[in-house]
Symmetry: D3
């Protein structure tokens, strides 16, 4: 019960000035020039200690302390990424400032490792997006990339992740040797889902898209972690058994091309996930503080105390629990 | 282990002439007139005994016999419904012929009860669609309606199920006292999902749409069964806990406004479903013969032998198993 | 009156399984994989002997016998070609299965010669379409190609037949030395015409498109037969006289770059056609069994007994009648 | 051979200032205000005597003299009507000025009777269009209306003539007791046909649209003359025989709900037309001077000397010839 | 030179939390619920004293002090209004919070009077927008409304201000007896202008739209002030002289239906404006602090020290100068 | 007061036959072939002497005489250019005929110098448009080109003038050594402005587009004259001061990359313009006869007697006045 805990799914808690900057960008659309979000290490530090209504009234650091998280990979707040906004330069600028906020957070909090957000505007090409990843890995020492499978944010159909369109993304990830965390961003009307449900829907599509025969054949070294337990797939996986049988394989084997995080908030779901893909393919992830930072009035636990749920799974042995909490992440992210 | 088994999720095995008729409709677009699919009781009967490649080489009746199904509710093959085709009259005609095929099947096979498909073309209004349900209940004695939450079949965004747009549907269902089986139909390019995965995505949206506060407040007698175990929701339900806590309730209570069928093909998924919503809200459903009618080479079982999976759940007591296999369906469908 | 009769305009009478296959394709949109239409020589043979409501209650072979047709060129049922459906692969698969049905029919009925249908989806290029023609000529010994001038099937404006867009089609036809039969396919709402009237409208446009100065100058060996007597053109040909006079030629000379079939159902129309373009440019064609397979209650003749109408034209001499019935077809199709 | 000749299909030869006015309207789009085309009786008179390149180098009056036309119904030059231009007011103003040009021509040339052009812009309703007809009948004594079945001029699909959309048009025609001359106007890119071929295509659609069962049942007094010999229909009429037989009638009877003019330029086409619909349903019409005002170098005849073609038909008796040349027009237009 | 100065064109300097709130709205699109911007009087007060990069490094209050402004009418920062965002509720919420920020500013700074921003989303009707104005006038005592003539923010063409579409706006303004300040909001790609130039373009269109004959005839009590000196109109007014002469009036008289503010930054432009419309139709307005809050390196003056420019106009007498600085505003806004 | 006067902004007064030709083009859309406008030197000459309602009842030559214009640069009537019409060939043909009309006018009136209109259809590329300029300079000796910054004529957003899209235009202008006169053409519904106000709006956008840093850096020899005094910019120029100060320059210096004509109709506007850009950057231009050819009932002057307004400016010295009236034009156009 004393595993090292590496949370692969944390999002940056940035100073207000990042969002004031963003509000300006979507208003002036670039007319005020590049400017900046006035980010400083001091402000980044203060933000981590500020109690926050959205976090259940406590601070980001208090959440880490409470949950005993030893390391957290922090990426941008996904729903703020505004990939579908125009013109492209404001998407670019916001991604850069956000990554700077992450870098500053890593500088002031040693538990953090950075995961880059990318300027995934459809006005530019995927190859162009990857320049920002290169910069973040080189300049900031980031260890991964958050990839949004739907840069249109619900406004139209993007190419599926199995399409050649995405190959420049996989190429650069392999070249840099960093994994991708699949995580969509916003979702715009008239879509029927909130951004939060859009995460789940897109992850379901991401799994089926990536498992097209060609992707992992063409990129055998590609490492992809699908957020939130892989969308609907572990629960619905039996639906894909017949197809796999017909190809002389099993869907479990196909599924194990991918990794998923444990960002689910019920123990039975976690058990299902681990059974479906194996403990060696699940990475501890909490999105904490965030969506789940509310206390269950009955149990008194934070909904996003996912470490407690994992610890409560009786049939997991220590080696498996260690894989989930740390070993898999160490291997994939070379920590 | 000797429960009566009522399978609420079966689809009609119609004579070839129904599909020849359909191929004609989408070609002549109504120019040949209404015509008909040349359906007869004899042909309907023969179709049930015909071995079928898509069914793993055996017939629909053999599947029922093998699985010991006592009653099966049969609805149209959903992916054939062509709700997004034009003009409206061919959607209407096809729905009528399909319901006739169901009625004839019920006539020649006493284990069947009919569930109507509706002409859900967006060129007409929901109120118009419901005339066909009235006809099927009155003329044929059908016991339910299959409702497609996405009549556009992936081409554009329909109103969410919580929208007033759908109220005429709920009104007539309540008036006739028959439940709805939520089940989407086709899915057209450039959508990224096959129709089969679209089922799951649409069911996820259907659950969140229907659980908008107003629907069950305005239609307290409405009975809705979501196919395929409720899409992603049971697995991802923890994601909705915080919202429910903030409203002073629990998501489990909210979820129990709906029913779901057991059309999942892995035991752990079924266990998760039953834990999530309770045995009194799960209805035995198999989609058999269909997607799952392939044998697992290792176990030798049909993938869609869902009754075996349910029987294998050790912690279910007999009363709960009876509810799932029969009791819930008897109550909802007044069988 | 004992001419050999070669009917250049017949459509395949395929087994029902072809249309069941098609109904599946437009429903699963490729999700079930390529599959096949379960076509066999036996089924193809049986289909030719099956009495058919759409054929006036008798079989395809009986129609041939009754009319004394010695040879019939059979192409796909045009209105079933679904060129405007998506994704491209289902258009491709359906074209291939249809051509297979034609090949099997030719195998079991020695009076038949095959004319290929092509996968004319606008998601692929004309050059791509022609691969299927190459295959059919090489593998099956087909003698011509049916070309749809409107692959959008009424949904939007395609390039006119005089446009460079179509040059790859003309190139391959010349390379293979086989003629084209111009014949559109379906017509989708909100167009104002049925597919059958769309045939006529498209043929009118095909004539004016092809008679643009460049086509036959660039492809002097191209042989094109316009179905249904050339649409409106022979009747309306005087409208084009002034333009031709201004260019120092006559419209009759311009028109004779093309051939047309006799698929008209009134003697006076046939007379007009033959006068307009000459007996050496008319090919016997009936579309039999098909649209015209209904008996005139007054005369007791089948409407599509076009051979009788031709025989009734008193001013035709035997040489001309032979040209129409056989000679022109023998020359163009190298029979 | 000395029949009175009433040509129902003539178009106004207006002073240049009408077209200068039009060029202004489509440039300033109404910004210069209503203005006017500076039309006068003197200018109208002079225009009728001016030799014209487009008329083969002679004047409108010389054409009438040469052909011995006793009366000519003159409507606007159809291709100039610009029904699809925007805003609506410029379509309205141009229609009014054009009708004024017609009225002035009738004033200075006693052989003329006016047929009104209507402001058929889709920005206003059909009921609105008819106000201009009322005005022309009341103020100017016009005797008919030219109706364009495609106010979009090829840009999109209008409702078919059998649609309820057109009922206000039929109502006012019946109320005023004046016939309609069906004649489309322009045809805009990217349509594949010139405006002149668009006339033919639209007339074909007009015939099939108007022959929908309801129109002449609902408007038994409606009189409609389809220009240019009825498009493709007489030539292709056999195609519609089976449908009529199935309804227990004949297509000839159905066709005789409509009238057509003789604006065809070949004798065999005229013969076909008269056989198809009867001499009592054909009205002498020439579109002269216009498209056909070119001399055939071989015969020396004007192509649009249609009276000569009709006179050359040997099997017509004098009564029939009189009907065509005058009787039918006198009856329909109450001349 | 000691006039009271009422600046009618100031924008709120709100606490950062308003923009953090906005950044959230355009990201979660309403999924987080209404929430609020955590606005307080203290924060509003502090914001007014905070030095600001965009304001040339000093605070809003310092600007007022420096310029000797006695009263300032403050409206929302226009470019932040996001009228074209979706869904409508986020536009509504942001407008409400912005007006609250204005109300709090008025509470802590006695020199301020509020001018309401409205939720001008095209998903709702103009009548709906006006509810927020009613609320602001009643609850907060606001004295005017800022009206955006382009709620689409450059994405498509809105109805011109002379159109009936806008009548509900004019009605409520007259009913409440408060003037409108015409001022557009954002401008979205691919428009060619920045939001700031869009202000000018829209004001030019606003003037010509409002001067359509009907508006001020139908709403004689309507008071409208066009921002930024009336766009291009005073400079280009000669262009409209001929039209006015033709109507028997002068364009100067027509123009005087409207008022404009002095938000121009060059003395010669102000002189032109005052000559064009009269001192009794110009209202002192500065947009200060804002666009012009930069010092001219040569003169050392703030560019937006418009009071100095007005004071420098030698030919203005004191009465006129008082009208501009205060009298006109007092009369229109009933201060 | 006896300066030579070169009016750089005159438009051709063409014979009516040019507009009759145009009315035909937009009606037959090219179906009648290229044809021509029947232009002759005699007709061109007569047109210049014809009194014209739109010119206040006198002729073009009388206007020149009255105003004492020594030379006038004449370009096409811009609003007639129909750049947004389709197909491209009719735009091309009309531009050619218009330039021919200009050439003929220059031939018969020695005071004229030609400025070419270009076939700026978006169906072809800017490089293609420039062929017509080459032809006009070479064949006709034209001295400039009129450039429309909005070839879509209000229907959609064109690339801004600072965009690379326009570089082929600047290249050819520099190559030929002729200046551009920026002047838009028509403006189509549903735009809110008339073509005349569209001129102003487009000129405002043209100034800001052209002043993007790259254009005059990449084309240092480019000479551009913006019509109508530069749109709104001189009046609103203070709005751009802060940006220039921030770049270490002044907006006056930036503005002086461009020239503008004096086509404004009020003396104070002219004074403002000359102060804003300097007398060495203003070129005498009147658009005479045209929009302003109406007499002011009070002064008795023609509104477009701009030479009188310039002569009335007291603070201009003779050298400056000469620059405006002639010197600047001589230098730019190498007259």
């Amino acid at each position: 019960m004393l595993s090292v805990k590496i949370d692969v799914h944390g999002h940056v808690t940035a100073p207000d000035s990042l969002y004031v900057y963003k509000a300006g960008l979507v208003s002036h659309r670039g007319a005020h020039g590049r400017g900046d979000a006035a980010l400083t290490a001091e402000a980044a530090d203060a933000a981590l200690d500020a109690p926050n209504r959205s976090f259940g009234g406590i601070s980001h650091r208090q959440h880490l302390d409470n949950a005993g998280v030893d390391y957290q990979l922090i990426s941008p707040r996904p729903y703020q990424m505004m990939h579908s906004e125009s013109p492209a330069k404001i998407v670019q600028w916001y991604a850069e400032e956000t990554n700077k906020a992450i870098a500053l957070s890593c500088q002031v909090e040693s538990r953090f490792k950075g995961v880059a957000g990318l300027p995934q505007t459809m006005e530019t090409s995927p190859a162009t997006w990857m320049n920002e990843l290169r910069r973040c890995v080189t300049e900031y020492g980031f260890v991964g990339a958050m990839i949004n499978p739907d840069p249109y944010e619900g406004l139209q159909q993007p190419p599926a992740l199995g399409d050649q369109f995405w190959y420049p993304v996989w190429e650069v990830l392999c070249e840099l040797g960093v994994p991708a965390l699949i995580h969509s961003a916003g979702c715009r009307p008239p879509a029927r889902e909130s951004y939060s449900l859009h995460f789940i829907q897109e992850e379901t599509l991401a799994v089926t898209g990536l498992l097209q025969p060609s992707v992992f054949k063409d990129f055998p070294d590609l490492k992809v972690i699908v957020s939130h337990g892989g969308g609907a797939i572990p629960y619905q996986r039996g639906r894909f058994y017949p197809g796999a049988f017909r190809q002389g394989t099993t869907y479990r084997d196909i599924l194990r091309n991918l990794y998923s995080d444990t960002c689910l908030y019920t123990q039975d779901s976690l058990e299902l996930q681990i059974k479906a893909v194996g403990a060696d393919h699940c990475l501890f992830g909490t999105e904490k503080p965030g969506t789940g930072s509310v206390k269950d009035p009955e149990t008194g636990r934070w909904v996003d105390d996912i470490h407690l749920l994992i610890e409560d799974i009786e049939w997991l042995d220590d080696a498996e629990r260690d894989q989930i909490f740390a070993g898999n992440a160490q291997q994939l992210f070379k920590l």
